[in-house]
Symmetry: C2
Subunit: 334 residues, 2 copies
DNA sequence: AACGTTCCCGTGAGCGTTCACGGAGCACTG
DNA sequence: CAGTGCTCCGTGAACGCTCACGGGAACGTT
C-alpha cells in the first residue's frame, strides 16, 4: 500500500490545470482583476475553493511589494504595563499598513537570546524591551531597523525610547517630602540585571533623596520580585527591618500595590501610617483602595514613538532617542 | 541630475559579486553551513554587513519549510480580558514554533470586515474574537484553519471556543439568591449586536432568574458601554429607576467594577446596601475594594485550547468546539 | 603512479506567484 | 473590405533564495 506522499501544497498551476485555464487566469479570478469573463471567474473560483487552494504568502511577497512585519518584543503580556504599549504600537503600525508580530520573553533573561534569534529572521523591523546585551547586539547586528525601549544601558548605536525618571523621581520624592516624610523606603525590581547601575530608578531615587537631605543609603532600597506578591514580600522586609519608614516608593505600580495591600493586611492605615507611591501610572492604580499616587508615563505614546522611529530608520534616518517625561498623579495613598 | 531609482533591494547575488564568490557561498556563510572555509566566511560576512544585506523572508519561505503565522484577532488590548487570552495563545503557539500576529478591531464592529480582509492574506491560520457575520464568513471561506471564540452565533461549520455561561449564570444568580437577594439587576454590554439573543449572558441571566422565581423581565436588564465608565453610567440608571435592586450582576468585571465604584461614590455600602457580581475573573477583580465576587473563566486556557484546535485542523481534523466552564469565586462584594 | 578522500566552491533547477507582453476572436467603423 | 478597437486569455520572465549535484585542488593511501 503506497504511503501518501507528504501532502504537497496545491498551487495556482494545479487549479489552472483542473479548471482548464492558465495560471494567469486563475490569478485574475482570485485577485479580482478586471480582464476576465465573469463566467470564467465564477468557474475558476469554484474549482479553487473545491480544491482548497490558498495562494502562498511567500510567493506573493516575492514579487509584489514587501509587506513589512514589525516584531514587538515584550516581557509578559500579563504585566499590565505592556498592553498599553502594545496598543500604541498596534495603532501606529496599522496607520502604516504594517503587521505586528508579538514575542514574549516571559521576563526570563535567559530566553532573550533565543527570542532575538527568531525575531531576526522573521520580521523586518523591531521594537523591543530587552535587557540582555547579547540579544540586543544580535538584533542590532542584523541590520534591521530597531528601537530599544526602557533600557538605561542602550548602546549608543541603537535607537531608543526612554522615560525620564531622573525628573520623575525628583517629583515623587519631593512630593513625599512636602507631605512631611523623611524616612522613605524604595522597593526595587530585583529582576533587572543592572540593579543600582547608573540611570536606574534605584540610583535616581537615592540621588533625589540625597538632594533633599534624606537618609539615602543602600539599606533603604529593598529588592522585590516584579509582581504583587513580590511587593508584598518586600513590604514584610521593610517592616521587619525596623526602619520606621513612613513612606514607600515602588519600582512600579505592581510592586507598590502589592506592598500597600500587605501593609493594610497588617493593620496599617494608608496613608496615615505609611504612604505609598508607584511608578508607571497603570489603569489599575486608579482602581485599588486607596487609589495609588503614581508617576504616570504615557505608555501608549511610548509605543507610537517607537514605531515612528522605526519608520524613520527605514527611510534612512540615523539613530535617535525619544524621551518621555512622567507626570506625578497624586491620589489618596499619599 | 539623475533621480536615484527606487532603492532596489540588495540581494545575495550582489553580495556574491562584490565578494568575488558565488551565491551559494554567501548563503553558506550567512546560514552557518559547514562546507566553507572559515576565512572566506569571515570575508563574506564582512562584505554582507557592509552592504547592509538582509536575506528576504519571502524568498526563504518559498523554498524552505513554511513558517506558520497565526493571526490573533482581538477587540482591544486595553481590555484586560484579552491579555490573558493572548498569553495562552502565545505560549501554545511558541510550543509549536509558530509566530503570532495580533490584530485589533478596537471594539468597532464596522472595522471587523477590514481586519478580516487583511488577516486572510497575511496569515496561515486564525483565532479570532469577531462578531460581524460578514467578517467571520470572509475568514471561513478563505479556507484557513479558523477558531472563533466567544460568539454565541457561531456558524456550525467553523470551530469555536465558548464559555458555558448557562451553568455560570445559574451559579451566580443562585449565589445571590442564597444570600437573600430577590431584586437583581443585570448590566448588559450594549455593544454586542445580538443583545438578548439566544445564548447571551443577557438571556441566560433572565433564564436563571426565572428558574429561581425572581422578577426577570427585560426591565431588569440595563445596557452599558463595555468599560468602567459604562458600568458607572448604567448604575446611575439602576438607581434612578427606583427598582430597589439589592444586587447587581455585570456583563463582565469591568462593568461590575464601574458600577460598584459609582454605588460607593453615591454613599452606598457594599455589599450591605447592594451586592455586586462580575464575570470573567480578571486579576483586577481581586484588587478592587471590596474584592469582587466574579464568575472566573480560565482565559489562558481558552487561548491554549484555541491554538490546539487550529493545530488539529491543520492535520486535517474536522471542526470542533471547546467549552470552558466558569467557576464562581466568592469575595467580599456579595 | 593511480586511486580514494576530504575540503571547498560553483552551477542548474525549482519554489509559487505576478507583471509585461502578445495574440486570437469579435464587433464596429469609415 | 481593411482598419481599429475592445475583450478575454496565455506565455515567458522575473522575484531571491536554497537544494542537489558536480568539479577541482590538495592530500594521503595502496
Amino acid at each position: 500500500m503506497p504511503m501518501s506522499a507528504r501532502p504537497r501544497r496545491i498551487t495556482i498551476e494545479d487549479v489552472a490545470r483542473s479548471a482548464g485555464v492558465s495560471r494567469q487566469t486563475v490569478s485574475r479570478a482570485v485577485n479580482d482583476k478586471p480582464e476576465i469573463d465573469p463566467a470564467t471567474r465564477q468557474r475558476v473560483l469554484r474549482v479553487a475553493e473545491s480544491m482548497g487552494y490558498r495562494p502562498s504568502r511567500f510567493a506573493r511577497g516575492m514579487v509584489g511589494p514587501h509587506l513589512t512585519t514589525l516584531g514587538l518584543v515584550i516581557a509578559d503580556v500579563l504585566n499590565p504595563f505592556f498592553p498599553e504599549v502594545v496598543s500604541g504600537v498596534l495603532a501606529a503600525a496599522d496607520e502604516r499598513g504594517w503587521q505586528v508580530a508579538i514575542y514574549s520573553t516571559g521576563s526570563a533573561l535567559e530566553r532573550e537570546t533565543a527570542v532575538a534569534r527568531t525575531v531576526v529572521d522573521h520580521v523586518d523591523a523591531c521594537v523591543a524591551f530587552l535587557l540582555d546585551p547579547g540579544a540586543i547586539e544580535l538584533i542590532h547586528r542584523s541590520g534591521m531597523p530597531f528601537v530599544l525601549l526602557d533600557n538605561e544601558h542602550r548602546p549608543p548605536a541603537v535607537s531608543g525610547g526612554r522615560i525620564d525618571f531622573a525628573t520623575g523621581m525628583r517629583h515623587a520624592v519631593g512630593h513625599l517630602v512636602e507631605r512631611g516624610h523623611r524616612r522613605i523606603a524604595m522597593l526595587d525590581d530585583r529582576g533587572r540585571p543592572d540593579a543600582g547601575g547608573h540611570g536606574t530608578r534605584h540610583s535616581l531615587f537615592l540621588g533625589a533623596a540625597a538632594e533633599l537631605g534624606l537618609p539615602a543609603d543602600e539599606e533603604w532600597v529593598f529588592p522585590a520580585a516584579n509582581s504583587l506578591e513580590g511587593g508584598a514580600a518586600a513590604m514584610d522586609d521593610v517592616l521587619a527591618g525596623g526602619f520606621g519608614a513612613t513612606a514607600v516608593l515602588g519600582y512600579n505600580d505592581l510592586i507598590a500595590i502589592g506592598a500597600m495591600r500587605r501593609a493594610r493586611d497588617r493593620g496599617m492605615r494608608v496613608p496615615q501610617d505609611c504612604a505609598f507611591v508607584g511608578c508607571d501610572g497603570l489603569t489599575l492604580s486608579r482602581l485599588v483602595d486607596p487609589p495609588l499616587t503614581t508617576l504616570t508615563v504615557d505608555k501608549e505614546l511610548l509605543g507610537r514613538a517607537a514605531v515612528r522611529q522605526v519608520a524613520a530608520q527605514m527611510t534612512g534616518a540615523g539613530t535617535g532617542e525619544t524621551v518621555i517625561v512622567p507626570r506625578l498623579v497624586v491620589r489618596e495613598s499619599s
